[in-house]
């Protein structure tokens, strides 16, 4: 997930036997937990995808039927599209917004203002999704919410966010931005501040104007950070669940805000079609790995290698 593969540690010489034993001893809790809670469940999910099971009656082997059903499942197609729309919007708004905010905040000379802006941008990120989702359901409420009251004062009527299938997804994208932008912003700011200032000074001395410096020096130097931010934003966004399940428990009007994880949860834990849910989870893994791989491939063209 984090990009570079591990640099090999000390060369592997056949260490002393005592050291070997210590090695196994030290990793044993992690390996045990890893087997029980990650590898085992992962393999078992693949196994379950070939079965029909409701968790109560004996399970039944059905071969590839779950995958065939997935192929013809219109709701699955819909939730995949919803999830892609959300993830794409999330990556674009977070990366662009985070970068602009970092560039802006980095220029502030007033330390008090700079601290205030950083704190208010970042604070929503530490609040749990449950609190954020409930709060925003009230903020956007048509009857007593802040947004409808003040838009009314400004002379326009906002949509009925959570009952209008065109506007539910944009509302959730906006709420997610409010909740998570601080994370992207901090990462961008750290990346920006790691750009060596000599490079920028040198470009200036050579007569480049501000925009050229930004476009030809700062952003290329920040490209590893921008790439990292887009990869993890995509991975996080593709697994979105909490706000959608809390704000629109049934998937929203016309199922317009049902994400793939929400669908998986519905099929696994509401309707107890565990085999089918496992098959959906495999699809999810494949899609996420595929997109991440594409991002890495594409990155060779634009990410500056230090």
């Amino acid at each position: 997930m984090v990009g570079k593969t591990a640099a090999p540690g000390a060369p592997l010489r056949p260490g002393r036997p005592r050291q070997q034993w210590s090695g196994y001893l030290f990793i044993s809790p992690a390996v045990l937990l890893f087997g029980v809670f990650i590898v085992g469940p992962f393999l078992y999910a693949i196994f379950l995808s070939f079965y029909a099971w409701d968790l109560l009656t004996p399970r039944e082997f059905i071969g590839l039927d779950n995958f065939r059903e997935m192929w013809h499942d219109p709701l699955l197609r819909k939730v995949l599209r919803n999830t892609f729309v959300f993830a794409f919007a999330s990556v674009v708004t977070h990366v662009v917004g985070g970068l602009l905010l970092a560039l802006g905040v980095n220029q502030l000379k007033n330390r008090f203002l700079s601290g205030f802006v950083r704190t208010s941008l970042f604070f929503p990120f530490v609040i749990s999704w449950a609190a954020v989702a409930l709060l925003w359901r009230y903020v956007l409420s048509p009857s007593f919410g802040l947004v409808s009251y003040y838009s009314d004062k400004l002379g326009f009527t906002p949509p009925d966010w959570f009952n209008d299938s065109t506007w539910t997804m944009p509302a959730i994208i906006g709420i997610d931005w409010w909740h998570t932008i601080g994370f992207t912003f901090i990462i961008m700011l750290a990346g920006l501040q790691a750009v060596p200032s000599e490079l920028i000074e040198a470009a200036r001395t050579d007569g480049a104007n501000s925009w050229r410096v930004l476009w030809h020096v700062t952003i290329p130097m920040m490209s590893p950070t921008i790439f990292f931010a887009s990869v993890i934003t995509f991975i996080g966004a593709f697994q979105i669940f909490d706000p959608m399940q809390i704000i629109t428990p049934g998937g929203g009007p016309d199922k317009s805000t049902m994400s793939i994880v929400m669908y998986l949860w519905t099929r696994g834990f509401q309707r107890f079609t565990v085999g089918y849910a496992s098959a959906v989870s495999i699809l999810m893994l494949v899609v996420m790995m595929g997109v991440t791989l594409l991002q890495f491939r594409g990155s060779r063209r634009w990410v500056h290698q230090a």
């Binding site: 990793i27 905010l101 950083r118 609190a131 501000s210």
Partner: protein, 279 residues
């Protein structure tokens, strides 16, 4: 600092400052409204125009929370789960990272790579089998069902190993010559030099557990075993028209987080920043 490429004139710098100030104020507005309404008498609260100052002021809404959900119990559950999950996963990860960084044994790099590749597996894929496993262990609807699966934190193992690799090996060789064992080297030589990495991972693990909603939603049934996020959503679902009690409950969850955040802000921000720079 001073790395920005935009050498804006004084005027545009002013404009940027004003715009950022307005945006920051807008970001905080929902929270200000939340707090003000939660302190307003129920019959007046949540009326238009919105309250920005509680009028008439009351704390009765907060008293009403515990009539609807066992709030104190849920807060305690959250604290227990997050503390055990964080302390446990840090201990497990530090031990493994030390072995991956410092000890030599057959299969070491293969096991490490296997763990790394599992970072791609989303938690939602393993949740059904883990649910079945916990059901067979009779752990559904208990607190251990929430912290037990969190004890394995592959990302932390990876992060610590990278950090330990940056600590000079001469230090532990010197300790070893003085007769120190691995436990001593790890806890007395390596960890004291790993403060920032430990702080970063501890904060992130605690935050993830404290805010977790997905796993409790699936593993917990009864109110006395719920953690705060799930309890809050449950309260909202069967509030019986008292939205302002929900406001009080949201505030009661957000305010302690705000205080902790303001105290540890530097470490918090550093922990996020380190993800991008180290990765």
């Amino acid at each position: 600092m001073g790395a920005s490429g935009v050498n804006a004139g004084r005027l545009s710098r002013w404009a940027i400052g004003v715009a950022l100030f307005l945006l920051a104020a807008l970001m905080l507005a929902p929270l200000g409204w939340l707090i003000a309404e939660s302190l307003t008498k129920e019959s007046e609260a949540l009326r238009l125009p919105p309250h920005w100052i509680p009028d008439p002021f009351t704390v009765q809404n907060y008293r009403n929370i515990s009539g609807m959900i066992p709030f104190g119990r849920m807060a305690l559950n959250s604290l227990i789960v997050a503390t055990i999950a964080t302390a446990g996963s840090m201990f497990v990860s530090v031990l493994a990272a030390y072995a991956f960084s410092r000890l030599r044994f057959p299969g070491r790099d293969a096991i490490f790579l296997l763990m790394l590749s599992a970072l791609m597996i989303p938690g939602q894929m393993t949740v059904i089998p883990v649910f079945i496993l916990l059901r067979n262990l009779n752990l559904i609807d208990t607190l251990p069902s929430l912290w037990l699966p969190s004890l394995i934190n592959v990302f932390a193992i990876f992060f610590f190993r990278q950090y330990f690799n940056s600590i000079p090996r001469e230090l532990d060789e010197a300790a070893r010559i003085d007769g120190a064992g691995n436990i001593w080297i790890l806890f007395k030589v390596i960890l004291p030099l790993s403060g920032p990495a430990l702080a970063a991972m501890t904060i992130l693990a605690f935050e993830a557990s404290w805010n977790s909603y997905f796993l409790p939603l699936i593993f917990i049934r009864s109110e006395e075993n719920m953690t705060l996020p799930l309890g809050l959503v449950t309260l909202n679902a069967d509030q019986g028209g008292s939205s302002v009690t929900v406001f009080a409950a949201i505030t009661a969850i957000v305010l302690p987080v705000l205080v902790v955040f303001l105290v540890f802000q530097r470490a918090f921000v550093a922990s996020i920043a380190s993800l991008g720079v180290r990765g």
